[in-house]
């Protein structure tokens, strides 16, 4: 089976007053059709930069190298016209903060219809509108709200409008960047259920980005944990969450306690220190200053991603099967 998305040795470098700052430092992964990958990590680890790089949404002045193969084509070398088409029909992205991503003075139905008409994925305006109402229905928004303006909808409804909009031109891949972070618990559950249903019904592939490992475990088959611009652990999501082999993944998994687990009761768990500044990464393994298990050798060289268990890989010299 060929991969739907194949990212090869992707690097993203920002140019700032402090010089060149590497945000993504050589990331490779593949996503099968219908597969779902969860990307976890803290702010500044490069996960959102990578999501934007995949669709070439980063502002000018940022250098991206490597390959992003969507099917057979490399997104990074595509002509602008082709790129515009691919962004809606091949892969679409859902951002967090639905209030800012929607046009406040346009009815939601028109915002969803616009890309459909532009990319001619439906024969005429009428069919496009029918499809928009259909999509809204699929994300649980009744047809009588289609004519509403964004401010008339609740936060959860607006987030679901964004999902409907991303699906307007029937993409094969949906990238969701913290799509539920600003939402209440019950609304988050509603949105996750919608995504899960869509994935099952249309064989939609998904990349799901958040810092909450437990959400990812719930939505994704595979998990990749990023730290300082690289993937430091990956594997099947249950396995990574329940038997993490990288000390950073262990800390992330413990940060959100399992309710009922006596060990975490009255005992919140965290890491010392802060995520590193991408402009001044520590030598050796970039995690070693915060790592509870670090030994002298960790300062020598950055460990590569190598097998750490069945179907699992970790970038840690102490995590070997």
């Amino acid at each position: 089976m060929t991969a739907l998305l194949s990212v090869r040795d992707l690097t993203v470098t920002y140019r700032t007053s402090q010089g060149e700052v590497p945000a993504v430092r050589g990331v490779s992964f593949e996503l099968e059709p219908g597969g779902s990958l969860g990307l976890a990590g803290e702010s500044g680890c490069g996960k959102s930069t990578m999501a934007n790089a995949i669709l070439r949404l980063l502002p000018a002045g940022i250098t991206t190298t490597g390959e992003v193969l969507l099917g057979e084509e490399d997104v990074l070398t595509m002509k602008p016209g082709r790129l515009r088409a691919v962004r809606w029909t091949g892969a679409a992205i859902v951002f967090q903060g639905a209030l800012h991503a929607l046009n406040p003075v346009q009815r939601v139905i028109d915002q969803i219809t616009e890309p459909i008409i532009l990319h001619k994925t439906e024969p005429d305006k009428k069919a496009a509108e029918k499809r928009a109402v259909d999509l809204l229905g699929q994300v649980g928004i009744p047809a009588n709200r289609a004519e509403d303006y964004p401010h008339q909808l609740s936060g959860g409804q607006r987030q679901r409008v964004l999902i409907a909009m991303a699906l307007a031109c029937d993409p094969d891949l949906l990238i969701a960047d913290e799509p539920t972070t600003a939402l209440d618990l019950m609304v988050q559950a509603q949105v996750l259920a919608v995504l899960e249903k869509l994935r099952a019904e249309r064989q939609l592939s998904m990349i799901f980005i958040t810092h909450d490992l437990s959400v990812l475990t719930y939505v994704c088959d595979r998990l990749a944990v990023m730290y300082a611009g690289r993937i430091v652990e990956r594997g099947p999501s249950d396995q990574v969450f329940e038997r993490p082999t990288h000390p950073y993944t262990r800390a992330l998994a413990a940060a959100f306690p399992t309710i009922g687990d006596r060990e975490s009761r009255m005992n919140p768990s965290g890491l010392k220190g802060d995520p590193p500044d991408p402009a001044a990464l520590p030598a050796g393994c970039p995690f070693h200053p915060r790592c509870p298990d670090a030994i002298d050798r960790c300062r020598d060289a950055e460990p590569p991603l190598l097998p750490s268990g069945p179907a699992q890989e970790a970038a840690c010299i102490l995590a070997r099967p």
Binding site: D184, L185, A255, G260, S264, D274
Partner: protein, 317 residues
């Protein structure tokens, strides 16, 4: 029995037709962490503002150490907000920020010493290293510690923390929660933490109160309440927390109704899975659920749920 630090008595706060707080009794004891859990629109924030004395009750009262709460209690009641970056003045140094509370209350003692003590207590050690820094020169986790130091400098009796870790990175979250718990254990401070994060409650709270549409609908010791929730709303909330494993998800449809139109009977009945499944009918209480408001939970209750079904099962069982 210890005297409660804060007593909220039959509190109602209305904004026009909206009943933001619609009958709340609650006591906060010294030396406890009480988690007030609820979704947006449940009235948590209004309740907190009333405890600070910043919002006046429509009826009922809020007592702080036996006296009606007003803004003059502010040195004794301090607040920690969600976003440390927004809460800190970018043009002030850490020492000026932390000293602000002292200046407002015209503190007569040694300001520099009080600031240093507050910084050390908040885990910023040695304090001299931080005094002259500006907020942008320190990390996100350190910023939230500065916010906590600024709140602790007046040696308050009560800390109101509104989602204190929601905007922090996952790995820092545990450190900040540990700090809050430690302050409570070492100083006898009380913390009322407002959150929708049940994992946070599990991590540090002694008691949990769950709010829905202006009322507390369930209260109890953290372990009892989270291990065996009674109210169908609490059960549903717990079932959708990704951190609870092996529980069947119960996703409620719709969202919290408009506080201008609080449903008749039990305010939760239009979304209640117990009523929808026909269970209320079998218990012979369906009419009650739709027509009769369950009694407001008293401030003295140790473990209670405002639900007709819970009461009917308790009587039958």
């Amino acid at each position: 029995m210890t005297e409660a630090l804060v007593v909220v008595e039959d509190l109602h706060i209305h904004f026009g037709a909206a009943r933001a707080v619609d009958g709340v009794n609650l006591a906060v004891m010294p030396g406890e962490v009480l988690a007030l859990v609820g979704e947006s629109g449940s009235g948590k924030t209004t309740l907190i503002r009333a405890i600070q004395g910043l919002t006046h009750p429509t009826s009922g009262k809020v007592l702080f150490e036996g006296k009606e709460a007003d803004a003059r209690h502010l040195p004794d009641v301090q607040m920690v907000f969600q976003d440390p970056t927004g809460a800190l003045n970018p043009r002030r140094t850490v020492s000026e920020i932390v000293a602000e509370g002292l200046r407002i209350e015209k503190f007569k003692g040694n300001e520099a010493e009080a600031v240093s003590t507050a910084l050390s207590r908040a885990g910023l050690r040695p304090p001299e290293r931080f005094l002259r820094r500006f907020p942008h020169e320190i990390s996100g986790g350190q910023r939230q510690r500065v916010v906590i130091a600024g709140a602790m400098v007046t040696e308050p009796r009560l800390l109101l923390a509104d989602e204190p870790v929601a905007s922090l990175d996952a790995s820092i979250r545990g450190e900040i929660l540990g700090l809050l718990r430690n302050l409570v254990d070492t100083t006898g401070l009380a913390v009322l933490v407002v959150t929708h994060d049940l994992g946070l409650a599990w991590n540090i709270a002694d008691r949990v109160a769950v709010m829905y549409l202006g009322r507390i609908i369930e209260v109890g010791p953290t372990e009892e309440l989270l291990d065996s929730p009674k109210h169908p709303y609490t059960k549903a909330l717990l079932s959708v927390v990704p951190e609870t494993r092996g529980m069947e998800q119960q996703i409620l449809s719709g969202e919290i109704p408009d506080p201008k139109r609080i449903p008749s009977g039990c305010r939760f009945h239009p979304r209640c899975p117990v009523l929808q499944s026909g269970e209320s009918e079998r218990l012979g209480i369906a009419e009650r659920c739709r027509g009769e408001d369950p009694a407001i939970i008293s401030a003295a209750a140790t473990r209670e749920a405002a639900c007709w079904a819970v009461k009917a099962i308790a009587v039958a069982g």
